[in-house]
Symmetry: C2
Subunit: 333 residues, 2 copies
Amino acid sequence: MPRAWHLASRPDGMPTNANFELKEPGDAPLGDNQLRVVNRWLSVDPYMRGRMNDVKSYVPPFQVGEPMTGGAIGEVVESRLAGFEAGDLILHMAGWREGGVIGAESMPHKLPKSMLDTGISPQTFLHNLGLTGATAWFGLLKVAEAKEGETVFVSAAGGAVGSAVVQIAKAKGMTVIGSAGGADKCAWVEEIGADACVDYKAGNLLKQLSAAAPKGIDVYFDNVGGEHLDAAFAVANPGARFAECGMISGYNSTEPMEFKYIMNIIGKGLMLRGFIVTQFMGRMAEFHEDMGKLVQAGKIKGEETVHEGLESQVDAFRGLFTGGNTGKMLVKV
Amino acid sequence: MPRAWHLASRPDGMPTNANFELKEPGDAPLGDNQLRVVNRWLSVDPYMRGRMNDVKSYVPPFQVGEPMTGGAIGEVVESRLAGFEAGDLILHMAGWREGGVIGAESMPHKLPKSMLDTGISPQTFLHNLGLTGATAWFGLLKVAEAKEGETVFVSAAGGAVGSAVVQIAKAKGMTVIGSAGGADKCAWVEEIGADACVDYKAGNLLKQLSAAAPKGIDVYFDNVGGEHLDAAFAVANPGARFAECGMISGYNSTEPMEFKYIMNIIGKGLMLRGFIVTQFMGRMAEFHEDMGKLVQAGKIKGEETVHEGLESQVDAFRGLFTGGNTGKMLVKV
């Protein structure tokens, strides 16, 4: 009987184990236009923290007492949905569980066999070839309009989105400065191509960034907010563009964020634009074509931090906020 | 002998009288390509505060011991510059003084006689038909791309730029909510056309703004930053655009600004764009054509707060930061 994580109560600050409950919802009969799925890989993503609050946002909140959802790779074991058959590997949104019966509301998509046949692993469709990669690609190239020859700063460069940004930017001929927490993670960020990486745990972030970017930055890809965003205001060149993707430093906090350099928005004519990858759903073909080539050419490597077993998913999720992952954080079921 | 205000020392926080000195620089001979001018009207503008600091910005800092500059309307009394003759009324940048010898570096422009003949006063070219009006017009219509039927929030709506924004927005069929300090100033903001005005001195700004904009705001024209900007983050509709024109709440402060709602940039997909009116210098004809019609049709009224005599200019300037003006703050020489 497949188990599923349910939201037991809404977290206040950093989520605790008490906020979640692993339950067996019971067996469901397979209806018309439905699939029975066994999940293989589950995604944890920072945006899920927002869904645990009871506030209107671009995705509706999880409901207390109900199973949670999220990206997952599963195998179809029984199909009453046209176009799918047993054995198909699919990407769908009924994550946080071992499997079960899903329908169109979980947006099942078959993984392209042609790409799996080239040796690309199924779980790549939860990161570099999925919404994580699309977030990096659209944010860098379409929201911030980063161009060859420009200098890009990306925070949380050791994370799933950030490490994709680093590699896409390098593949497109940009200078890239990342930030990450700790010497090991910074070394890895440089290993995947960053020209420099500032270690935000090793002293004054702004001083380090100024030294790493003596000519300033033209683009900031923000995953962190707070002190990182303020440092970017300080070193930005006139006309710099900020792709506002995330502010993970604030997700578990109720304190206001402080900015010393925000007036530079005016003096330097900066542009900040918040975005969510779903607004680009109509343009996913552009992403798949370009990113597919980069991945197949080995220019985008997919580092993964893997937790084993559904019971580890809450720990995996909490690890996103404590620097517990290098590359994409995944749960292998 | 014309007197001129000199910067005596750089202010720390709010400027004091000791930061300025009124001196007679001595008589200058009139060289080739120069004009001798007697000034009639002098402008004080919030951006001048930035020029008193020794930091790189979009305009170079004033130098300690040197005369300051700024917008002015003067009368030519002697000309050795082609195209100008005694009696011409001109707009130029050698303000903060009673007059003197100026050249091309002060960017003299003759006021259009055709418009003066319709009864438009010369000092209007220091506000609604000058850079103040252009700041409002380009910021609202080109930076924020505000459209008919949208709801616009503008802070410092009792000031020179803000009151122009209110009136342009109303002339273009938008709903306008202003903010101003005090019941009298708010009443005036509504008198010039705002659908509502929130008094930031009368309690919780965010609560007032939420009540005044039950359907949210589509555009925020920011002159203030700080708490106003944070309230705009809170009530913004998805996809709202913020024209970042000024953050006067921070100009005399060294404290960081605090934001509780800045993460809405991401969740609501907001766009913030800083601008300075000089970036639109190549498009001034568009502004003059449209704004000239609005002013001549009486749709844009030019309220002025006038201080008499050059010696009052420092007080006039300081008044910009303490709510001392309704409409454009001017010094009549």
